[in-house]
Symmetry: C2
Subunit: 521 residues, 2 copies
Amino acid sequence: MSLETVAGEALIQQNLERFLLVLTVSLSVATLPQIFSWVRQIPYTLLLVIVGLALAFVDVRLVNLSPELILSIFLPPLLFEAAWNLRWPDLKRDLFPVVLYAIVGVVISVLGIAFALNQWAAIPLTTALLLGASLSATDPVSVIALFRELGVDKRLSTLMEGESLFNDGVAVVAFSLLVGLALGTDDFELRRTVAEFVGFVGIGVGVGSLIGFGISFLTQRFDLPLVEQSLTLVSAYGTYLITEELGGSGVIGVVMAGMILGNFGSRIGMNPRTRLIVTEFWEFLAFFVNSIVFLLIGDQIQFASLGNNLDTIAITIAAVAVTRAVSIYLLGGFSNWVVESNINWQERTVLWWGGLRGSVSIALALSVPIILDAREEIIATVFGVVLFTLLVQGLTTKPLLKALNLLGEQSQKQQYLEAIARRIALTRVLERLEEEKRRPDIDPEYYRYQKSLVEGQIKELEREIEELRSQEPDLQEFVREKFREELLAIEADTYAEFVRSGRLNRELAPFLQDVIQEEKT
Amino acid sequence: MSLETVAGEALIQQNLERFLLVLTVSLSVATLPQIFSWVRQIPYTLLLVIVGLALAFVDVRLVNLSPELILSIFLPPLLFEAAWNLRWPDLKRDLFPVVLYAIVGVVISVLGIAFALNQWAAIPLTTALLLGASLSATDPVSVIALFRELGVDKRLSTLMEGESLFNDGVAVVAFSLLVGLALGTDDFELRRTVAEFVGFVGIGVGVGSLIGFGISFLTQRFDLPLVEQSLTLVSAYGTYLITEELGGSGVIGVVMAGMILGNFGSRIGMNPRTRLIVTEFWEFLAFFVNSIVFLLIGDQIQFASLGNNLDTIAITIAAVAVTRAVSIYLLGGFSNWVVESNINWQERTVLWWGGLRGSVSIALALSVPIILDAREEIIATVFGVVLFTLLVQGLTTKPLLKALNLLGEQSQKQQYLEAIARRIALTRVLERLEEEKRRPDIDPEYYRYQKSLVEGQIKELEREIEELRSQEPDLQEFVREKFREELLAIEADTYAEFVRSGRLNRELAPFLQDVIQEEKT
């Protein structure tokens, strides 16, 4: 090859090679549970952190994790995927507590952590505030990965995911304001700060909505699956970059765009098959990025640096836990009182303990300006706290869920739902077999064989369903609710189909929704 | 954000922004046929080249296309996807002519083009040889994109795709050897050259096979769809990099790995649903990369430079066409004589005229060392020839196929499947007519008329089906397999639907799959 390009090629190859190496390690980790059954207790993401730590321990450093890598490359797709899958009706039901946690919760957290560090670790207030802001973002990536893997109850997931998706934006904004303060370029003035905050968030919401709805209406005008799939990718990165360039919160922009495309655009603009393919594509992308991020989090740990800051880390861990307890229990109670959100103490306990910190906190800490003396200390402390929440809290969340009886019940419901899904699937297969009976091109013997197989399986499933139902009488009500949701989805999808095909000009509010709402209240 | 990271972040953001811009332009181009119906005549990839040219004309340059970008980033996924979808039984049937074209064809092309340029354009032999080598790779990307879009007969596709996938590797190897010669560091010695060639190809085949079979057997040991999907991506880039590092042909390595995984690994190691998702993922990735590559090819054109080299370009175009005619017609005849491959003159004509040059030729030209004086001339000439083949040959290939009667003829299986699909569709229409009979708002006369129409059509279809079946007895087994696949798809789709709508948290493995697997063994 040419001499001039050798340098460029070497650089690209080196980076590519390193990421391939990271992926290879991560994918090997993913197969561990297949080999050692006891590993199955540990969620994939946490397993990656542990392996990363082990590599860091023998001083094998794979790739340097920089804030720009986290913020511009990894975060947009992860946020988009989470927002794409967040069902708006679920979120709407709990919008009040979610917003409360995301805004007031962050304020409590920043101030509380800063106060504790200033008081008991003798850390200057500006540094303490920066630490507080970095650690106020419960990382959506870690939390969502954990909750999905544990199969947590849907409502709890919505609360946690919603909070994580939104408090991120708030924490990033708070952090930026505080950096200005620490550098001495700004001085604190409440009115201006609030105005800036509203600007950040407003631009994020504005750009995100514009892109979300714009692409939704655009995709409605044509049916080109690959183009629509590409557009979701373009909108994830594009929204982030445009919002940041305009001085808004990229995180909030991506979340808005993702939610709009996932809940609205994918219904009016995509045919069901495209929607499925796009969802699968994002699931893969999220898995892919997570495989890189969590391994690198573990792999970045500087043990010496952690050791030097052990006191500060311990105090910070305590402060993080206490402030989160305060905000979750207090704000939860407040929300229960105002809108009857009924977040019981078991759920609050999980929300408290499951509030992991992750890549966003690390990105913020790494982006502390080098001219600030406290930078090393901040980075070490944040890494320490993140590691604690991921490993200690992360690994004990499942037992906690079990102890609080939030998982056991779920699994029976899950089992029941699975059995039902299987029965429906096999019934459809049977129907198809009946329907095609008249097809002269396949011989009847083959039909009979297939049919008897499927019928046997269905009978077995019915026995299982009966058994489960007799064991738990609640299942009836649970299934009824599910069924109502289904009917609603059919109705909404039909309207969406009409709108998409141009036979209707505007979305109708599903009629059943009001009925259900009435029934419930 | 921090000061130290501003530079890094700006760089990443800038690159990201440029690629997002490229994508946005490409996706807009993809929607053009929806707006202007006459555009539908032009394949997407060629439309991109035209739009890129238009942008270059007003001097809007999007991203600088460098050889390392093409070779390390774009080519591996495109080659992998093409190889993944190449069916081994089809290729095996035509392996002799494919290998003949890929090896002997390249030799004829390099020498022929070099001779013509040396003779009639007074270009020094070393430069002429470099030009010959750059232009001897029929670009798999362009050719495959074109043939797929045109829906060319499968055998013709296999011949062309197979040749393109393999002659690439050969041309790259020839080019590397010739660069050494041009720089004066090597002198030509036939025995050493042949040994080097065998080494290049051998390492490629070896590494590609090793990785392909290794991952095939690995994925057989577990059922983790996302991991398996990631592994295909890792193997595409990994094979390329490792092979190149070991001094082999990365192109050949990727093609080997892709073919093994697509034909063997995906069958023994993946469940049908995973295989489908992976295939869809690669289809998307290829679309995505093509959207970038073809736009940039057009956008890179330097009109002034082309103008200065018009004579050379014209002579090269003629030389390329003539040498390809010689190799296709002669070698085709030879192959027909030796293994009775029955490549008729119509097919040979398409193989000749459809042999487009594309990104590989450009990558090779761009990688000519700057210390060679002729670099600018080589680049301009290659761009000129690539543009000619893409636009003139590319746009006239479809009319040519029509004129040669190669587009109308469809495989019998395809015809059979279509007849069956039509019959099922019409049967459903009939059922609906029966069902709606009771609707009082449509008069019975109209029903009877419609019904008799549909019934007539069904009868005709049945006759056609009967006829096809008597012509080809294989169809029975073929249809049975299709039917099994259908049943499996119904089951898998139902589960996917449940997961998507949130009624199930995790994917279920289809029950029928095991049944079918057992049946087969």
